[in-house]
Symmetry: D2
């Protein structure tokens, strides 16, 4: 199976580098970029008995190795056989 996981800073955590990208758009003459926030994307290939087992494994992986739950949220945005 293939899964995509998004890891994003919690909304109240500042993202200075996303902010830098937003500011840079103005200096390049791009009008209209209001905000940019940078997160992490993980593409995972896994073997699991069924979707339920896959989701349990991905949740554990996300909490233990992919994100810091104090400052980040994660979401399994897709899971395909």
């Amino acid at each position: 199976m293939k899964a995509l996981i998004h890891v994003t800073l919690k909304p109240d955590v500042l993202d200075p580098q996303g902010k830098a990208i937003q500011r840079a758009t103005g200096s390049l003459g791009y009008e209209g970029i209001q905000s940019v926030r940078q997160g992490k994307l993980f593409e995972v290939e896994l073997d699991a008995a069924d979707e339920s087992a896959a989701r349990a494994l991905l949740a554990e992986l996300s909490e233990k190795l992919l994100s810091n739950p104090v400052i980040e949220d994660y979401e399994v945005v897709s899971l395909e056989s």
Copy 2:
């Protein structure tokens, strides 16, 4: 509008830190994680006249500020009003 952009290493570019995560899963007793590749996720809020203008702006942003086209691919995975 809100857009989500994925920036991923091209398939032939090694991702040692994704590999490290995959290896770590074994040492934690998670069976079945075959591969992990890490990319970047950008959440962008923008103003644009219409979807077509938004996509043109996001393409330029992605090529100039969000990715290195020599080693990375980008994809605008969602765009919502």
Copy 3:
């Protein structure tokens, strides 16, 4: 002038990806890696009237664009003419 700046997670902030690298070392047969923490490194070229002006500029840059002071520390580790 050239400056090097280190941005590191504060000691009480978990670094799951550094932890993943540490765990992966065991699975590769490397004995003795006790901990790994990942930070950011910035190489900055700048013009400034003197070292004092350069350090003031680098401090502002570090606080506003390179780090999130709530979760990260920064240090200007070198500054050369």
Copy 4:
């Protein structure tokens, strides 16, 4: 022992996010920032018989888990007992 390792993009590899930070400095009114390049910093704690063994272990770690040698360079910038 404690080691610090710098991982930097090779000089001919574009760094769009470092570039974005450099561009953002202008929009914030900081004069004089000529270029910014972003790299990775690793703080490693390790046990090794002596400095020579430590350096061999750090080289292997850097090549296999911390960097992609095709696009990145690494340097062990400090090693302390």
